[in-house]
């Protein structure tokens, strides 16, 4: 016993140790520990973000250097605080507070003391910097805009938040990421890939050289430059015209589906969201709940389309053979649904298709609409056919553009009305408002522009998109290069287009004529309502205009939607004509009109429902 005591103890100790070591090194070990090894620090090398050019190769978004003043609190020697604060442009209390914060974070690691100095401040500071030990300047790259427009299209970048970090393992805290618009949609392309350097650290977190002599390190991969389909001049011009007005404009090149302009009013200068004033400006924009500048009305604003929708009803009726272009309806300065009279502005009389479109006759389209439904034994069947045709124009659902936001609009089907009125308790007369683009149908300006492009193409459209090319390769997603055919035969478009041309030549939009350019268009004056203290209140009509030009060989199709602009031709029509002229001719011949459009605002209209007092709508003066 006494001889074996020590031997057994030795064996016991051996087993215990090996057991514990197996637990530590075999059981608890995991091979990806290297990722959180405190001895290895990853240092990232960020490539420059890709530039963004417009369709003509003009730079829209570049980069600029910004300079962060960094501090390593431990290394700070006593300094002339007053002078330093003056150089940095901050006050002493602020400086002390920031220093305290940096020290709390880590006395050994660098913290940002003053972020994103401008080039001028940097120049002033640079030569004095050596007097202040423990401080240094770190360069970083920020966006730089050569345009004042397209803010919502281009989007902005900002530091990744918790949400991004949770969902995308690529990002680390403090990195910049596209948050909206093109910056978000093409983040991967623009961003490039960061390089990583592995640095061996000691326990005080000091660098002691590269890990494994840098064998694992990677080089950054440059972000690709992007060419987008916008026309910078057209975009900027459109935004100037939108001054003081709310609404959206979308212009599309019909033969490619490329978005030429995408304007939302009110908007903001994209430079506001860069650099030091970013967060202050962002709050201001974000909390502006009245004019909502961050809300992209061109793509997310769904409203009744109004009279432009009549063109589709005409096409559906022609396709179904319930009318031909000579079919006539009488307008009694309105029409009757049962014994209820609905008004019409067209002047009355007998209308055929061309003059019905030309003068936007409600009675004509009510009759046409009924005929579509009357063709079928049940309203449900008629509804299905009508819905199928209308939706083939890209309405009532997401278009599938390469923009990260958007709304589907609404084309109601039978299920919708069964829910609303009850099965079998509605008919074409119940939903007659849809015939003139009021009622339950809704579309975004982008959808209206696309619908117009489909008419311009006589029966097909390309999914609207914003990317022209990325990097050196010209290829884009093939889903943007294949045509979507509508369910309407090509031959039925001609009479409708003729009607739309007459709108411009003789009809509701004869005021907007552009010398030398033939435009096909359709006005819309859309009744709209809001709620004030629970009461449904009618506001001044929305002014809508869709058009394409030239009629013979369409190069641009667009939709202009101006909230509370009253007659379709008044604001939307004029703005559309200026944009078409600008795009096709490059200059404006009608300087008076241009001046008037640039200066006129609708702020007085927007103030009405907020004033708290009774107000008049649809005032004739302007």
């Amino acid at each position: 016993m006494k001889k074996l005591l020590l031997s057994s103890i030795i064996v016991l100790i051996g087993f215990t140790f090996i057991g514990r070591l197996s637990y530590l090194q075999l059981f608890r070990f995991s091979p990806d520990q290297i990722l959180d090894d405190p001895a290895i620090k990853k240092i990232y090398d960020y490539p420059e973000r890709g530039y963004i050019y417009d369709r003509n190769g003009e730079l829209m978004v570049g980069n600029q250097a910004a300079y962060d003043v960094m501090v390593i609190p431990r290394e700070v020697k006593p300094l002339d605080t007053l002078e330093f604060c003056q150089l940095l442009g901050i006050d002493k209390a602020n400086f002390i507070q920031k220093m305290k914060k940096a020290r709390t974070y880590s006395p050994r690691l660098p913290s940002v003391l003053v972020p994103q100095l401008s080039k001028e401040d940097y120049a002033r500071l640079q030569e004095k910097m050596r007097h202040f030990e423990g401080f240094y300047i770190q360069k970083r790259s920020l966006r730089f805009y050569t345009t004042t427009g397209a803010a919502n299209v281009l989007g902005y970048i900002s530091e990744v938040n918790e949400w991004d970090l949770d969902r995308n393992p690529y990002y680390v805290a403090g990195e910049l990421k596209g948050q909206t618009g093109v910056e978000k949609q093409y983040e991967d392309v623009l961003r490039g890939t960061r390089g990583v350097k592995y640095i061996q650290k000691d326990r005080f977190n000091r660098d002691i050289g590269p890990y494994k002599d840098g064998k694992l390190d990677t080089l950054p991969e440059q972000g690709k430059e992007l060419r987008i389909t916008l026309d910078k001049n057209l975009q900027e011009y459109g935004e100037r015209l939108m001054h003081g007005k709310r609404g959206g404009i979308v212009a599309i090149e019909p033969k490619s589906g490329e978005i030429l302009a995408m304007i939302s009013g009110p908007t903001y200068d994209p430079s506001l969201l860069v650099g030091r004033p970013r967060s202050r400006n962002y709050s201001k924009l974000h909390y502006d709940s009245i004019s909502k500048p961050l809300f992209d009305r061109s793509i997310s604003f769904e409203k009744e389309p109004g009279s432009p929708f009549k063109t589709l009803n005409a096409l559906v009726a022609l396709q179904e053979g319930v009318i031909d272009e000579k079919t006539k309806f009488r307008c009694y300065n309105g029409f009757y649904v049962g014994n209820q009279k609905k008004g019409c502005h067209c002047g009355g009389g007998v209308r055929n298709m061309i003059s019905g479109i030309q003068e936007s006759c409600n009675a004509y389209f009510a009759g046409t609409f009924r005929k579509i439904y009357d063709k079928f034994p049940t309203t449900d069947e008629g509804m299905d056919v009508w819905e199928k045709h209308i939706k083939s124009f890209g309405l009532g659902n997401y278009l599938g553009t390469d923009m990260p936001t958007g709304r589907p609009g609404r084309i109601p089907g039978k299920a919708f009305y069964d829910r609303w009125y009850g099965d079998g308790r509605w008919a074409s007369s119940t939903i007659i408002s849809n015939s003139i683009g009021q009622g339950e149908v809704a579309a975004t300006p982008l959808q209206l522009a696309n619908m117009t492009a489909a008419i311009a193409n006589r029966g097909y459209y390309y999914t609207p998109h914003i990317l022209k090319s990325a990097g050196n390769s010209g290829a884009i997603d093939p889903k943007y290069t294949e045509p979507h055919y509508t369910t309407i035969d090509r031959k039925h478009f001609e009479p409708v287009i003729e009607g739309m041309y007459n709108v411009y030549k003789y009809g509701t939009a004869k005021w907007i004529r552009v010398p030398g350019i033939n435009i096909a268009g359709k006005t819309g004056t859309v009744e709209n309502f809001t709620r004030i203290d629970g009461q449904k209140v009618q506001l001044t009509d929305n002014s809508v205009f869709v058009a394409f030009a030239p009629v013979e060989n369409p190069k641009i199709a667009l939709a202009v939607y101006i909230e509370n602009g009253y007659y379709g031709a008044r604001y939307a029509g004029h703005i559309a004509s200026l944009l078409i002229e600008k795009y096709l001719k490059g200059e404006i011949t009608r300087k008076d009109l241009e001046q008037r459009m640039l200066e006129k605002t609708l702020e007085h209209e927007y103030a009405k429902p907020l004033s708290g007092e009774p107000f008049k709508i649809n005032e004739y003066v302007w």
Partner: protein, 427 residues
């Protein structure tokens, strides 16, 4: 195959094991202290260079030990012992303080640590006393003298303060047990340790309840024939309960906070997450870092000079007390298991050698050597892998340090010298 000279009679297996351990130790010291790979390994401005020099000194001490007359050690054991006690006393006056402990004499090129010397001399003195023809281990008075020999240096070292080194001397009890010191002392010691730990973990009340249950169990299941005298048994249980009470008192009033923290960490006493985190960052920092380093080595290790935590100096005192964590990180489970096996084999070999001695003195000294080396190994590795609380003792042959290496070497080779003469002397 060997001649009858010294080299033929020395136990080469032990020498080879010793050399392997020293070599592996140095390789790891090189890895932990390497800062500039361009310097020669013989550069004495570096710690690994210095250690190489100490290894040379250790070699010299081997030669010195081997060529000394065998009887010399036995004859002068008492004088060595007294000299080392004087040296320990002298520290109170002339000692040099390093890292808060006054444990060194400054010899200019070299810091001498007399507590290391005293380990050798105490082992010798104990063997000498016990092997004396007039000493009877069953005699209470002689037992007391033996205890005094062991505890005197421990008491002198304690106030340096170096509780780790003084703890080492308790290992010499194994020599006593081998020579017939009643084993129930060991039993009592174990029960005390058990009561100590369980009291801290579960409190006196539960320990008392546990003891009561135990009593009931014993009386419930004993054979009718076996008689346990009730009064003495109850007295033992009563003492145990009293001891349990005293543990709480001693722990709360005699121990200092840092000691309490170590136990709090070791026995997972602290339930408050925040405080536990605080303890982990301060007292437990070394252990945490060394565990992490070992864990990150995995099965194969990261490779020689590739240990990121070793390079980053994450484990404090890694070249001295925590050298084993570098083995764990760079050589993985393969390395650590190999080292454990080498040590185990080494100790078993020493026991085998000790048991084959004809001379009582040689056997007793041999047990002293094994006890001292074993307790170092047990406490050091136990601490580095997080099984034991932090107690600062070096890993024999491995840890950086001149005094340690040289005196461990002398400790061992005096024994090998005695062994080489086992067939010659007839005493």
């Amino acid at each position: 195959m060997f001649g009858r000279g010294l080299f033929g009679r020395i136990d080469w297996l032990t020498v080879i094991l010793y050399a392997l351990l020293v070599l592996i130790g140095w390789v790891n010291i090189y890895s932990t202290t390497l800062s500039d790979p361009n310097l020669s390994i013989f550069d004495f401005s570096t710690l690994y260079g210095k250690q190489l020099f100490f290894m040379g000194l250790a070699g010299a001490s081997i030669v010195f030990v081997l060529f000394i007359e065998t009887n010399f050690f036995e004859r002068f054991a008492s004088i060595f012992y007294i000299v080392s006690l004087v040296l320990l006393l002298g520290l109170f006056v002339f000692g040099k303080t390093i890292a808060g402990a006054t444990s060194w004499y400054d010899l200019g090129f070299f810091n001498l640590q007399p507590s290391e010397l005293a380990k050798v001399t105490t082992a010798l003195a104990l063997a000498k006393y016990l092997s004396d023809i007039q000493t009877d281990i069953k005699n209470r008075r002689h037992q007391l003298y033996a205890l005094v020999i062991i505890l005197l240096p421990a008491l002198l070292i304690l106030p340096q303060p170096d509780p780790g080194s003084s703890l080492i001397y308790f290992s010499l009890f194994f020599v006593l047990f081998r020579e017939g010191f009643p084993l129930y002392y060991l039993g009592i010691l174990l029960v005390m340790v058990l009561l100590f730990a369980t009291t801290l973990m579960y409190g006196t009340v539960w320990v008392s309840i546990g003891l009561m249950m135990l009593t009931i169990l014993i009386y419930g299941f004993k054979k009718k024939s076996t008689k346990i005298p009730i009064l003495p048994f109850m007295a033992v249980m009563g003492v145990a309960v009293l001891f349990s009470f005293s543990v709480r008192f001693v722990f709360d009033n005699v121990f200092e906070q840092r000691h309490r923290d170590r136990f709090a960490l070791w026995l997972s006493l602290e339930k408050d997450e925040k405080k536990l985190e605080e303890i982990r960052k301060t007292i437990g920092y070394n252990t945490y870092q060394s565990e992490k380093a070992i864990e990150s080595g995995g099965f194969f290790g990261k490779g020689f000079l590739e240990g990121t935590r070793t390079k980053g100096d994450f484990v404090p005192e890694q070249h001295t007390d925590y050298i084993f964590s570098s083995v764990g990180e760079e050589w993985g489970f393969l390395g650590t298991a190999t080292v454990i096996l080498l040590f185990s084999f080494f100790f078993l070999r020493l026991i085998y050698i000790a048991e084959r001695q004809k001379s009582d003195f040689s056997r007793m000294y041999g047990y002293g050597v094994i006890s001292i080396l074993l307790i170092h190994y047990f406490i050091n590795i136990g601490m580095v892998i997080g099984l034991l609380p932090t107690i600062g003792v070096p890993l024999p042959f491995f840890s950086y340090g001149g005094s340690g290496l040289i005196f461990f070497t002398m400790l061992l080779f005096i024994f090998l010298k005695l062994d080489s003469n086992r067939l010659k002397d007839g005493i």
